[in-house]
Amino acid sequence: MRPISALLRRPALSSIVFSSRRCLFSTTVSAREEAMPISRSITVMQPPPDARILSRAERPLPVLFNSQEAALSRKQLAGRTGVLAIKKGMQAYYEENGTRVPVTVLVVDRVQVTHVKTSTKEGYFAVQVGAGARNPRNMTKAVIGHLTKNAIPPKAKIAEFRVRDESGLLPVGTPITVDFFKEGQYVDARGIGKGKGYSGVMKRFGFSGLPASHGVSASHRSAGSTGQSQDPGRVLKGKKMSGRMGGEHVTTQNVKVVKVMPEIGVILVKGPVPGPKEGWVSIQDAIKKEDP
């Protein structure tokens, strides 16, 4: 919307044209026009009664592209909070129509909302969630105090789930059960993937290695050449080489929820999920699918 001052400075273009046309041509109304008048509808924008020219300091600033508010509006986030679960292993699940689905067993154990983050205070919307149980003797007083001030028992794991806006926030202390998810919906599963240790270039980056025979001596799994000749005369930064692989944060998107077992707090999801057995997995509504 243009500021009021601009409107007051430049009158509507149509009004100028209308007045000049009147001067150039005959002012008498033709017979045809008298019989069937052509409606010359010209909209002249009238400023509101309380309009005044704003000073430079009063003019509203545009939202900067690299501000936190603009970033929040651009982000693709889930509408609701997520849940922390423990990956216990995999199993087979037979559906009613006879299909066998490989499922991962995820145990949701005593999950509660521990803290809530808002746009006004922290600059974004998030729900902090705690799961499991832990001996308070093995926890710092800071963490115990953070939970105890809202009458929450000591939790084994605390994690945050970003949400789109305040409609996804839950009151602190709310228990989140497995009923939160519906059978057939899609979720994103996040976890720290299994560590592979120091791995070679074939496993780590999918290099083809060298031939198994034809004179290749003791370098069947090596990378081969690592660069050019005198120019650049060095190995470029970021060259794919052997090194530690795995143990990183991994997200598997669009994982289908096959079965929800509320009596024992277990979710069965289709397919594998990042991380080893007994590892923590964060489950939240899939951002690339519609809100359930």
């Binding site: 199993q91 037979y94 105890t148 069965l268």
Partner: protein, 173 residues
């Protein structure tokens, strides 16, 4: 004693309206100032966690497998047919017929070549000769597409092997 008193001294001007501070006075007035000591902090009680929903002494996978088995096989007939300790257990060499749910799949009769025991994934491999063409079929015992197993005949002689792959024709000939 003297050192602790010095540490606890909080020199503040007199404030008659602050009754809460007055209640924590532990020392006598001195030179127009009241000496206060901090009220003793009572440690907040840490709430106790409720027990977990899963039973304590069983592994969740084993517990869930049992739950799923109860849904798939409430009477336990599938388990009895393939459990080694059961008296009606099928053995390699026996002939059985599998009936599938729905009209699309026909029943399959064949000799048991082997039983792979893997919990919910327990499967049985059947071999049959149909129009001089050998056909093998691996059937998941707990699958919902399996309606029934029919026992046709027991092996004439006990097979001395668990897996009867020798029934397959020799490719060398």
């Amino acid at each position: 004693m003297r050192l602790s008193l010095f540490n606890r001294l909080q020199l503040r001007p007199t404030a008659p309206a602050l009754s809460m501070l007055r209640s924590s006075i532990s020392l006598v007035q001195n030179a127009g100032y009241k000496i206060y000591s901090k009220p003793k902090k009572v440690a907040r009680k840490i709430p106790v966690s409720p027990p977990s929903l899963l039973p304590a002494n069983t592994h969740p996978i084993i517990y869930i497998t049992d739950q799923l088995k109860k849904d798939l096989d409430p009477t336990g007939w599938r388990r009895k047919l393939f459990e080694r300790s059961s008296d009606i257990c099928v053995k390699p060499g026996d002939v059985i017929r599998v009936l599938f749910r729905g009209e699309s799949r026909d029943a399959f009769t064949g000799t048991i070549m082997g039983i792979k025991r893997a919990g919910l994934d327990t499967s049985v491999r059947l071999r049959s000769e149909v129009a001089q063409v050998g056909i093998e079929l691996s059937v998941k015992v707990y699958s919902t597409s399996v309606e029934n197993f029919e026992f046709i005949s027991r092996a004439t002689k006990r097979a001395r092997r668990a897996k009867l792959y020798y029934l397959r024709p020799d490719e060398r000939k």
